[in-house]
Symmetry: C2
Subunit: 386 residues, 2 copies
Amino acid sequence: MLQDQHYLRIPGPTPIPPSVQRAMAQPMIGHRGDETSELLLSIKPMLKKVFGTKQDVLIIAGSGTSGLEAAVVNAVKPLDEVLVIVSGAFGERFVKICKAYGIKVHTYDVEWGKAFDPEDVRDFLQYFPMVKAVFATYCETSTGVMNPVDQLAKTIKEVSDALIIVDGVSCVGGVETKMDEWDVDMMVTGSQKAFMLPAGLTFIAASNRAWAVIDSNPNRGFYLDLKKYKENLDKNTTPFTPALSLLFGLEDALKLMEAEGLTQVYARHALMKEMTRAAFRAHDIPLLADEENASDTVTAVQPEDFDAELLRKVLKQEFGLSVAGGQGHLKGQIFRVGHMGYCSPADVLQTISMMEIGLLKIGKKIELGKGIAAAQQIYLAKGEDN
Amino acid sequence: MLQDQHYLRIPGPTPIPPSVQRAMAQPMIGHRGDETSELLLSIKPMLKKVFGTKQDVLIIAGSGTSGLEAAVVNAVKPLDEVLVIVSGAFGERFVKICKAYGIKVHTYDVEWGKAFDPEDVRDFLQYFPMVKAVFATYCETSTGVMNPVDQLAKTIKEVSDALIIVDGVSCVGGVETKMDEWDVDMMVTGSQKAFMLPAGLTFIAASNRAWAVIDSNPNRGFYLDLKKYKENLDKNTTPFTPALSLLFGLEDALKLMEAEGLTQVYARHALMKEMTRAAFRAHDIPLLADEENASDTVTAVQPEDFDAELLRKVLKQEFGLSVAGGQGHLKGQIFRVGHMGYCSPADVLQTISMMEIGLLKIGKKIELGKGIAAAQQIYLAKGEDN
């Protein structure tokens, strides 16, 4: 097989654009000098647009989980009651983080593969008036479901003034995010998904309501204390040594997104979802998430008559194509195809063409080219240039 | 459109593997130090295998044309008679170089899109006993034809003892080359094709017969004087400053080829040709070269009912896909799809899937997915793992 070639179609980390690679290879600079301040000044306004917020988006050197933990330690006090909406592995992660801090956790469990219903959350909260924060996942990476976080605040506000804290790790940057308009109080994401960067940065923004809580919280930890990041960012600096290469890359990646246009970036992700889903539907292969809740960034496929793990193995061996397996109780039951960040409709077509060969190789009887044709038709019907 | 993404499917320059890019980014070294000698020592045996020769393969910093010129100035004297077999734009280039040196050129013209017949060359040479060298093109990049250079020496030797000088630029490294076994006297190629490197290096090897002529040639120019390169390479050095970054890359590219296995590299190129041709045949789109003479590295397509240039424009605009146009009198009449070097069967499938969309976009009525299915079938029938 052709060496040194890999097709990375997992739901993050995602491939890195060449110009971002070049940007990250720049010589190191002093982290307390003007160059670093100029870099932060250049990044700040672009990051706000992606989050749909007027608030500062704070940048922490750490993976996405450190951002989720930052949300917890800053906005919640030990012994506070919180509600975590759990619809997959990343909902569960919020539970674990809260429990590690002695926070009293109520969980609202949603069947994996389904989205939560904001009205159910409201009904749940009526019985728990002491809940100080509601944790939700925007795109649940483990199931390929996009949850209606846009509806959450307006639905629950009659019964609760809990903060709404959203894990946007596997979609912010690839799907429209209007933190301010949706009244989301904290939004967290990571660099290794729709931002087209390696893992290593987490981004977090807080509403005025959230800042009021943070300001009054006496125990915000040390490294993840968001007030430190906020006060420093106001002076175009950072509380601790920033991951400068990743910031070089972030500036470049944001410029690529602006050059494409954020509206076009979101339309491309929606198109890639539709193409991917159409291809599997054409072969009568079931998808885990319903049409209306399907994520624009990752598609979970739930085969009935072939072995997901065997397909993954064959695709890796045959083409160097990586797709993700299932997590938790869905391990072995599903596989997940990422289509986010540095990924184009043409890359989706290529993934499907490999997938079809892989399916035949593992003995599933399919008509070659049928999934491709379905995806091509979607492209032609909805393509940007039409 | 997703920024910073390009699908380069012209017949060279070709995409560069990431590890080759990293190798080329190594810090500069002294060109007269041990590191450079070690680099040359590492490259030498690998390059010989690719050429199928026991002779040293000389490395010149220059594009392929400098290698062709080196063959001319070293092996031919002014006023010598030569025969150039012209079956495309690169045959014509040999004519121009020879004429620039006052060499008496006979041309044997072959219809563009056809291969030469060694027996016709033999018949031609019977009338020109003074011909000192025959220039032939292995893969004619401008037409996608692979000429039977393997048969040339054994066919003409009854009537001529001319040196056989072969331009292998767009195929050596991607197709089997047995310089010694085929009795080829000089073989030339460039770095930007099957070698997966940027342009900037040309490789040239000469037989004992050719070296005898070179040794007796008093006017070999200066920079392209092959004796200088040979004498220096024997001492693991170079006559002039070598293009060190490209040599770093060359070492890595050759290692990638060895890791894949040269037999597998050649099988992959043959497979990619068959897949590409099957796809166009499935859509009844005519190909310029016949089945038996078609190049493993580049396919020329000759549309009857659509505009090749319009298709190329749409593919570039829509996907960032570059395929090449025609050269010389075939300009506007054909387009050429490269499938060589850092290119896999999955990349061929992707190219076809974009091509099908492009064809529909310019108004050609085709059945989507049909070309893909044909190429997938070829893959499954002939794929490496079968």
